[in-house]
Symmetry: C2
């Protein structure tokens, strides 16, 4: 009988706590599964992940690109694509959608500034920002892998970045709430251009959100900004969407073909103005990230 | 003929620049209007505001509650309500919706840690986070005032807060983009409860946003969190909305009567579960903030 899953901090195990081995994490439900990277419940979410050094997980101390589970044989060799129906991947997707925090544990074999010399260190709480597919090569064979971007939400100020100063200061008025999910829409002056081109109407459904002073829409980047995608903040990488379709597009439940036909849970055609030159490579990248290829 | 409006930084006038008087701000379009607090274009937005000390504007160095324009006689006495159709208020609303930056200038008569001993100081760039109505008393008479929350987005790190560490680190990968609007959805574990109660269906339109792992909705606070509203993070202050209706509710283009009838651009009835006890005072507060009373 499995122990119940526990989300968030566990008393007695502060950030920086050193475990001699993975077995030690089990009795307290810090990470309940000896042999797996992800401690997950397919109905509740994933509560903890281990960066063991087996996959090429990227790690900048404050943001991690984590590789999901599946597709390996008993010796640990990648022999198949990973898929989103694997319980452990479902767990991490749920933690993203529900805003549940994930404990990140880093092993000595993983190469990172945070790695311990031996054993496993608790690197703090993270939230799951996004997930997508990426093709990676193992022994000259290409496999579709499941990737998750984890963002540090712990208390260590030295691991935050100066660029955060432009963000919502209203948070200062609240005690820090663990288990908080955030959807941050960054809307540049360039995205204003794409919104004006479409009169703030969503290119998928045609809705324009009314406000007291006019209309509201969001500029959605086709190839996401920031690491690891590094999309451009340019008109050829932007579309005008309502918030609902922006969420759906970012989560990849629909994508766009080169002829602007919609694919996935949305059917029909993206409305595209003749003056709006969308870079087809960006559309291809979005499809590839979300399994439409 | 008015000079054209200029948004963002103006060369030669860095944050902290001291103006001897307001006249000095006009030739360079730093603030084009000698006699008014808000420099505004009703089609483009507001580019600059002066905190002169005439209204009770609140100021925490990193966030300002600014009072809009209108309702005063020639001697500066408040004799009428302010309204959202005043060009200067439209300008600030537009800057909010379009994510345009606002230069904040603080005069010596305004009481603030940032105030200069004489003249006017440029306190940096801010973005307009939100706007609402508030009843205030002048000479024993109550008037409806237009309020705007301005958030500091300048470069001075000493004016940012430690609580920002939980926010999206992906911004570090980009050069700082001036003129960025942000919509930050903070979703606590308590809001997860309200979403589960409604199976992630919007209480206004019934839509549930599909994702690969289930459904996505947002917990919307009826009385906003944080200063100056100080709403609770509790079930009696939360409703489950799709992102589109969350934006519309926060911007006050609809509100909710005590019998859950919708008022404003949305018609019909809020779906409310018998187990969900919404605090009517919070509904009243939301209506009052957005002029439905």
């Amino acid at each position: 009988m499995a122990r119940p899953i526990i989300f968030g901090e566990i008393e007695g195990f502060e950030e920086g706590y050193l475990f001699k081995d993975r077995k030690e994490m089990m009795p307290n439900s810090f990470h309940r599964v000896w042999s797996r990277g992800i401690d997950s419940d397919k109905d509740e979410g994933a509560s903890a992940v281990v960066l063991s050094g087996e996959y090429k997980d990227e790690d900048n101390a404050d943001a991690i690109i984590y590789t999901g589970a599946g597709g390996r044989d008993k010796k640990g060799k990648q022999i198949k694509d990973q898929d989103w129906f694997h319980n452990d991947n479902i767990g991490l997707m749920l933690s993203c959608d529900l805003g549940k925090p994930v404990r990140v544990i880093i092993g000595h074999k993983h190469k990172s500034p945070l790695s311990p010399k031996s054993g496993y260190v608790y690197a703090g709480l993270y939230y799951v920002d996004s997930y997508w597919n990426k093709i990676e090569t193992f022994d000259d064979k290409e496999f579709k892998m499941c990737k998750f971007k984890l963002i540090y939400i712990g208390n260590n100020k030295n691991r935050s970045t100066p660029e955060q100063i432009q963000l919502d200061h209203s948070i200062r008025d609240k005690k820090r709430v663990q288990n908080t999910v955030m959807r941050l829409v960054r809307d540049s002056q360039i995205s204003l251009k794409v919104k004006e081109l479409y009169d703030f109407k969503c290119q998928v459904c045609g809705i324009a959100i009314e406000t007291k002073s006019g209309f509201y829409a969001e500029g959605a980047h086709i190839k996401a900004l920031g690491k690891p995608h590094n999309g451009d903040d340019s008109l050829s990488n932007l579309i005008c969407l309502c918030p609902n379709h922006h969420v759906m597009f970012d989560k990849g439940v629909f994508s766009i073909m080169d002829n602007y036909e919609l694919i996935g849970v949305e059917k029909g055609q993206l409305t595209v103005d003749d003056k709006h030159k969308i870079d087809k490579d960006n559309l291809k990248y979005h499809r590839s990230c979300h399994g439409y290829n």
